[in-house]
Amino acid sequence: MKESGATPKSENEIILESISDGVFTVDHNWRIMTFNRAAEEITGTKREEAVGRYCWEVFRSNMCEGDCALKRTMKEGKSFVSSSAYIINNRQKRIPISVSTSPLKNEKGEVLGGVETFRDHSLVEELRRELTGSYQIEDMISRSKAMKKIFNILYQVAESDSTVLIEGETGTGKELMASAVHNLSFRKDEPFFAVNCGALPDTLLESELFGYKAGAFTSADKDKPGIFAASGRGTVFLDEIGDTSAAFQVRLLRVLEEKEFQPLGSVEKVKTEARIIAATNRDLEEMVQSGEFRRDLFYRINIIRFKLPCLKERMEDIPLLIERFIKKMNRFKGRSVSGVSKDAMAVLLSHDYPGNIRELENIIEHGFVLCPEGELGLPHLPAYLLEKRIAKPRHHSSIGELVRVTEEEKISEALKNNKYNRSAAAKELGIHKSTLFRKLKKYNISLPGVDGRSGHV
């Protein structure tokens, strides 16, 4: 049936063309009879090409082969509303959709075929992802408040070109953060060098960073430029700066103050325009107090300071990070692991992660060795996590129970910390002594005869 441009469209046709839901009808042989504008847009197939073709050739949904809603409608003569599915459009993209189907009847009630309406849910899916509240900058992802604060100022810090100090326990992502600062700065097209200062002895570290001249030492048979020279206007990331010697600290201070360095064995100074980002897993302020770290260098690098929280302090990120690692490893290893089972997730959420994000990533990688596809379950987790679970067979199903157990643990801990001095323990917990006594009774926490005040039985 050909459409004539001269023939005015009926009201129904105008409505069908105006709505944003895709609509098509099929005859008893599954051939498409009508195909509206939105259907063209969502599938990427023009009406002229679609009409007369089998619906599965045009619609290309994961339902077509096994669970066709239209087939059920035609068979049972009933409407079906909002089945979730996806189609593959002509640009090879999976489009999430919801589908409703009804029998197509004429005025006499005779079934002429079926009608299918479908709605593009791409935007809904996108919004759903937004609503999960995750924040992402470069390769870092988080939904924790602490990380959000960092992300909020990261762009400004990156553009500022100032020296940055990143503090955080091992495995918290200090290098990722340094790399993000570099990639967001105007230096992004220049080199980024990461050096672990703690891993190298002084002389080797200096020759790596500053380079050397031929004859500077026995095996130096030719000049070797160091990282500062090679980085040009890029970024040099000095990890574990708290583990460097006093002598090295002096040399580094000179680089920061004078923007120049001296290769080993050279009498001439070389200018550098590299930006320095330093990181440490130690408390530099404390080290300054104890004389282990130069105060002047500390003030030089402590212009902008980030403190990355350990994973224990951002437990809400664990599911998000697990999802990220699974996606990454699926991509690199060509696997199709779909996620983590509920039991395994419970174990992962109850672990303390002394190795932080790196430890979590290693746990997931361990799972990938044992589980090529499907869900990572308890048998795929490292034994040490499961042993801990057996040793602590607690399962706190509700928030109330979790709060109760945590409170009980905190009170016991505070009492031990203060040698069972009730007043001191109450002070540490930030509660009144009478509240502490009430809670001791509530949780039936028995106290030894020792009282921290007297120190005797």
């Binding site: 050739e57 045009v58 290309r60 082969e65 593959i88 090879q92 999976r94 060509g334 199709s336």
Partner: protein, 129 residues
């Protein structure tokens, strides 16, 4: 050489991503000398690629294919002819004889447009060399 086609009954499965049956044809010159049917789990692409490797399949003819499995197949150097529709035997017969598959291209991926892949039948010379 071996050619695989994801099938749905006697037709090419409309969507590769949800297909579950594979027709594997062994071809010598322009003749199909052997056929076998293999079942596989839909959506587990790594296992599917392993299956193709086990069966020593070089060419895959399939229906609509999304970019994720397309990338995995490309990474494993499997020649893919996607967005093909129609009766599997008819397509196989044409392909082994080096004939044009243009008439079996899905709507929305015609001669002058492309589904975006390097293996798009619309972009490539559809005649097997």
């Amino acid at each position: 050489m071996k050619i695989a086609i994801t099938v749905w009954g006697n037709r090419i499965s409309p969507v590769f991503d949800s297909a579950q049956t594979l027709l594997v044809a062994e071809v010598r010159e322009t003749e199909v000398i052997n056929r076998q049917i293999e079942l596989f789990q839909a959506g587990v692409f790594s296992r599917f690629i392993e299956l193709l490797a086990e069966l020593e399949v070089q060419v895959l003819i399939c229906g609509a294919l999304s970019d994720e499995p397309a990338a995995m197949l490309a990474a494993n150097e499997i020649e893919v002819i996607p967005f093909v529709t129609g009766k599997a035997e008819a397509v196989l017969s044409l392909y082994v004889r080096g004939m044009d598959l243009a008439d079996f291209t899905m709507p929305g991926c015609p001669r002058n447009r492309c589904c975006g892949t390097n293996h798009c039948p619309a972009r490539e010379n559809r005649t097997r060399k």
